[in-house]
Symmetry: C2
Subunit: 297 residues, 2 copies
């Protein structure tokens, strides 16, 4: 397995997920079409599609039909995108640039961006609940539960609350780890869990994927903190140096650049080791962790 093969698989997956989202958010000629346009703008404007890739690759471990996995992947990406739209709002992080383009509220307006985020979050659950996602209602309701728990007050939204409060707090590494597990780790973990749910994975396989996702999520966040310190906006596609400017504690500010990078690499190696039981089928997932740590955007 080479880096080129991973790149190729990721770009194939990204394009298939975009096609699925394009189909799920179809344009119409009603006067409120502006809403769907903003929802499309927020989801179809690029991005690495790491979370959908995790859904697709973990589903592939259990031979899930690709059409089903793509719908679950699209739902996760809608939730991720909604969180970026709301996070970028002036009242939150006040960001103008996302994926190298104007953020949703800059391109449209704040009210439309708030509603587009609300619409995407709602649509994600609508997509998962639809029988085209899986014929077994037990599987679908499990997907809904897992996504809601990962994205809600005990997960992503709770993590965002904590992140907003972090400037006024003096967080240590354990607290930063908890914050990041909530804010980004839970959605990464549920992406892998969805493959296991769709594929009726054995408890052992589900546990292995959970351990993989845990380490990957942390590696991912440390890499993000490194990019914020070391990257330029044009390279990364969003504003950088934000955490330091805000005086926010991060893995990098607490550990230093060198130790943070070593920690990320160690976690990446460790994450791949959890996948041994899947043999070659787990290779892309294993390599993804290294890709995530070494990425420059």
């Amino acid at each position: 397995m080479t880096k080129t093969e991973l790149d190729h698989a990721m770009s194939e997956a990204a394009s298939a997920v975009s096609d699925t989202i394009d189909h799920l958010l179809s344009v119409h000629d009603q006067p409120e079409a502006r809403l769907i346009e903003a929802m499309r703008y927020a989801t179809l404007g690029g991005g690495k599609r790491v979370r959908p890739f995790l859904v697709l690759q973990s589903a592939a471990l259990f031979n899930v039909r690709e059409e089903c996995a793509l719908r679950a992947a699209a739902a996760v990406e809608m939730v991720h995108s909604y969180s970026l739209v709301h996070d970028d709002l002036p009242a939150m992080d006040d960001d103008d640039l996302r994926r190298g383009k104007p953020t949703c509220h800059v391109e449209y307006d704040e009210a439309t961006a708030i509603l587009a985020g609300d619409g995407l979050l709602t649509k994600a659950f609508e997509v998962l609940a639809d029988e085209r996602t899986h014929e077994d209602p037990n599987v679908r309701i499990h997907l809904v539960s897992a996504l809601a728990e990962a994205a809600g007050d005990q997960g992503m939204v709770g993590g965002q609350m904590l992140d907003l409060m972090a400037e006024q707090m003096d967080l240590d590494v354990a607290e930063i780890t908890r914050l990041q597990q909530m804010k980004t780790g839970r959605l990464i973990a549920v992406s892998c869990a969805m493959g296991a749910i769709l594929g009726h994975a054995s408890p052992q396989a589900a546990t292995a994927l959970r351990a993989y996702a845990h380490d990957l999520g942390l590696a991912f966040q440390i890499a993000d903190d490194l990019l914020d310190v070391e990257g330029s906006a044009s390279e990364v596609g969003k504003q950088t140096h934000k955490d330091a400017d805000a005086g926010k504690a991060t893995f990098v500010s607490l550990l230093g650049v060198e130790q943070a990078r070593n920690q990320a690499r160690m976690l990446a190696d460790q994450s791949a080791q959890h996948l041994e039981m899947f043999g070659e089928k787990g290779d892309f997932l294993g390599q993804l962790a290294t890709f995530v740590v070494e990425r420059s955007h």
Copy 2:
């Protein structure tokens, strides 16, 4: 059946739903507790609880266990409350007063209000997907689908987009009707539909409830428009005269006060007639329409 009996039933229901929400949004001592506090502030601060009452009363038609109906009712109220929190934001309607108290972003701050709304919407789906809401996964997934469709881009969120655009449009009665059906009618309709779903209602019973909810929803909206014109903020508990100030077309601006009131009463009578097949069990629902039209807040 007297008005006092309806008042009594509504206040019993409101209190049971508040207890359920109080239990579902339990406080904790983590640093991000501010989020749960804001979610509680947005849902536990009063309100007529019309939508939960519709869930409970329609479920009672089919002898649904009250514990199940209360969870579904709480989920609908969470969605309704989230929509008010986001609707009140400065970038949207910019309201300071709601249910006679400061709006969520005034009491907390804008960022917290955005996240509290996101958290409530997510929690609603988490609650519905939980097996305590119903033992049959088919029922639960049907509840999730119905709520997502009613609340999303084709329903409530789409209606809010349209409402924001309405100031720049010259809407006629048919267009205002469509807007209001999306913005408020769909959530009222799904409240009744949830009772039918929980109770495995016959197609005839489900159709009757749908027809009832359709007329009730319109009557409700016309009554709201009348309150906006005729009520004072202290009586209604939120800012009034907003639509006229914004030059927005409403049922009242298009039909005039007298005709609008007649129309609302006619719809209220008509809504009750759809319930004949339920006999006395439908009396509270039938009377609710009249309550809604004659209310002063």
